[in-house]
């Protein structure tokens, strides 16, 4: 189980407080679909995904991205019990959505890159390290109930 120091928690929560979840969510999901086009396999009914600009401007991508990142907010609130917090979502992603957990790792890394573009100087190596721990913990928690 991943353990966060008090410092890491403070670092994460401080940055999270400044994130525009709606905007960042759309950007994260959009970039995932652009950079790793095979991830589009889960979104056949999203309409036009034919180019980077189509993807980034797609309203369904933005809406779903917001949903995903809002859920990520639960991770920030439950860093001491990620597996518990994401148990139901883990079952959903396995049983209903059939998502390969590798996709969670890809999305986590895309999120880290977006935080870097938004926060620049503030996104120091230490801050990144704390966030890598969190995205890795969330990916593991989401994969935990797979069978």
């Amino acid at each position: 189980m991943v353990h966060f120091t008090a410092e890491e928690k403070a670092t994460i929560m401080s940055l999270w407080g400044k994130v525009n979840v709606e905007e960042a969510g759309g950007e994260a999901l959009g970039r995932l679909l652009v950079v790793y086009p095979w991830t589009q396999r889960f979104f056949d009914n999203f309409g036009n995904l034919s180019s980077a600009s189509a993807i980034m401007g797609n309203p369904k991508v933005k809406a779903h991205g917001k949903k995903v990142l809002t859920s990520f907010g639960d991770a920030v609130k439950n860093m001491d019990n990620l597996k518990g917090a994401f148990a139901k979502l883990s079952e959903l992603h396995c049983d209903k959505l059939h998502v390969d957990p590798e996709n969670f790792r890809l999305l986590g890394n895309v999120m880290v890159i977006i935080l870097a573009t938004h926060f620049g100087k503030e996104f120091t190596p230490d801050v990144q390290a704390a966030w890598q721990k969190l995205v890795s913990g969330v990916a593991t928690a989401l994969a935990h109930k797979y069978h």
Partner: protein, 142 residues
């Protein structure tokens, strides 16, 4: 998964913009890698890995030179990186999974320093370029 003309153009344009500062960014990427992914430090027990270390800077410079070589030879990455692949396979024996971690941290570094340039399209092309470099580096492993 070959690099398209558009990929090459984007990568070359960025590299031109980085100019003589590539070493600064590869050094920062190494620093980020060691902090975020401590397992990568196991390859450097003989080095001082603390922030600001001259040895990490020297290592960063080597990585910068290799990447610049790669950018200059996008048409033949396996050929251009053959000697480096031999080195990493026979002598250094770094697990190729670690290359991916450094690659990711390089993307983070570039995103942090060039947010305005770091469009989804550039991110995609850079990610592809780095995965080709990693592939070429690992090509002599077995």
């Amino acid at each position: 998964m070959a690099l398209s003309a558009a990929d090459r153009a984007l990568v070359r344009a960025l590299w031109k913009k980085l100019g003589g500062n590539v070493g600064i960014y590869t050094t920062e990427a190494l620093e980020r890698t060691f902090l975020a992914f401590p397992s990568t430090k196991t390859y450097f027990p003989h080095l001082d890995l603390s922030p600001g270390s001259a040895q990490v800077k020297a290592l960063g410079q080597k990585v910068a030179e290799a990447l610049t070589l790669a950018v200059d030879h996008l048409d033949d990455l396996p050929g251009a990186l053959s000697a480096l692949s031999d080195l990493h396979a026979r002598k250094l024996r770094v697990d190729p999974a670690s290359f991916k971690l450094l690659g990711h941290c390089l993307l983070v570094t570039l995103a942090r320093h060039y947010p305005g340039d770091f469009s989804p399209a550039l991110q995609a092309s850079l990610d592809k370029f780095l995965s080709h470099v990693i592939s070429a580096l690992a090509s002599k492993y077995r």
